[in-house]
Amino acid sequence: MSINLFESILFATIVAGTPLLLVALGELVTEKSGMLNLGAEGLMSVGAVSAFAIALTMDSTVAGLVAGMVAGILLSLVYGFITIHLMANQVATGLAVAIFGVGLSAFLGKPFEAKVLEAVPRTVVPYLSDLPLIGRALFAQQWMVYVSWVLLALIIWFLARTRAGLALKAVGESPVSAHAIGLPVIRIRYFAVMFGGAMAGLGGGFISVFHTPMWTEGMIAGKGWIALALVVFATWRPSRVLLGAYLFGGVMISQLFFQSSEVQIEIPSQFLSALPYLATILVLVLISSNVKMIRMNSPASLGKPFLKENA
């Protein structure tokens, strides 16, 4: 494989993996507090449409991204209210968010279909981007990619080194005990849910403002669900989320490169298109079968409501 080809694949992989990274990090924080929010697909969708609409009408990428995050936060608040205050089943509510979010985004996005946004230019880091093999792929990306790395670092630091991070993890392990020592469990869970919503909205915004850049209904096409699987793949550790995001991005990209290479392949394109999903299943099987690892790493109260009466 030529150098250029490797660089191109790496480059495209990072682009494809970035929305997964953003969404998965957000969901990781949400799940760390014990809340299981399956609505990522819907959160990404409303984030994508809002980001695109605002970026277009206000001619500002940043305004668009902010709008995307706000949309994600608002929808995740619906989830939060119904599951935290009304103590409804988290799986069902998350599903409702997913379905509703996709439908609402399609509905709201009607006037913006097939409109065009100016492409966001690449921010090329001098010197570093001239590194052989990895230079272009790592340091000649659009700026949101760099932001995603910064966010990753912040989240790692937050969870490992701050009191707030500790509090979050405590709530996730045992909300009853956390409540007993005086932690505001409800508030922490709300924040975690909103953060997840914001990140999912950001991930959706990346797709509609940086990657494509356009809006079309159904454009998230399953990436939200893959991001959920990534959190399991990463056994709830942020650094592993990075690995997983780029791994999945790579699978999604490489089948395209296979198809267009000089080699004539007999493999049906539908099979190649199915690879990311099959890979997700494989990865889930491999990780989940290590039950000890799952039990050690998954937040103990994941999916269970916090009943003050039981505290």
Binding site: L36, A96, G101, Y277, I281, V285
Partner: protein, 371 residues
Amino acid sequence: MLWLEQRPVPSDKMRWLSPLIAVVLTVLTGLLMFALLGKDPWQGFEVFFINPLKSTYAISELVLKATALALCAAGLAVGFRANVWNIGAEGQFIVGAICATVVAVHMGSHPGFTLVLMVVAGLAGGAAWAAIPAFLKTRFNASEILVSLMLVYVADLLASWLVFGPLKDPMGLNFPQTVMFESEALLPILVQGTRLNLVLGFVLIVLMATYILMYRTHLGFKMRVAGESPKAARYAGVSAKAMVWLGLLIGGACAGLAGMAEVAGPMGQLTDKISNGYGFAAIIVAFVGRLHPLGIGLAALLMALFFIGGEQSQQYLGLPGSISMVFQGMLLFYLLASDVLIRFRIRWGREGQSPAPPAASARVPEDGATT
């Protein structure tokens, strides 16, 4: 201040009332939406909710659409009750359709026998596709939510490959479709001039069967116990693995049957457009129907109304088709929200000032589903 106080005993009255509340809230929000969109709310109400009932044909279409939803939902409900989260009904629907198609296309046309074989194929295909997440869950602890969902995408691509390849109609000008099924491979029409076919019979049978299973058999009792309280289930000797298998297989079989009914009914062939979201809508139907066969039947009719209402809104009001999905999502939200009234009552005053003592346990599954 409004606050929520846990009821001593979950309210049965609210169990049946809360879906109605949810429906009313959805309709009211819908009227508001129509107004906000610049349409006359009454016209919107009429186009969306009344039009689908305006003629025999319209009602037959409503019932036809509801059958697919009810079939999938009835199967899913069995699983949900046992805390088995099958999100992949759409994929099981597709695989059931594929298997039924293979029979229709390859097994010749024998009156009666072909159809029976197709039914079996639909059931088996859907169940087999659901067996994958069941196996991976029981053997490897892999989340059935994510596995069944990923398999939806795989099933869709599988159908695409088949209709472009091995199952393609050789006289079909290379379009992605199979041959049209012979009349022996099509479900007989029940009402002349409509498309309502024998699938209605299937639905009634399945609804009755799941009712009997869940409420009149020991197995069903065990499944419900397993769903409400896994700890109690373990004491009672219920095998968690058996629950997973049963929940998924039944859900898969029902979805597969619905898939068979789609290709042996209104479509008359398999194309690459076989997937149309029934499997996901059925999840909402299952919840709105309180996971109970009677409720599911009613909820399926309601959801079918939303679907067709959305179509009508497109043609007569110029609203985007995605309005159906918005209504469906809203309905589920309102339902989940009003469900709180089953376990809690709304009180005025300061928190904790109620004379009723806190209850022992609420109707909340102890171990929530985890990925």
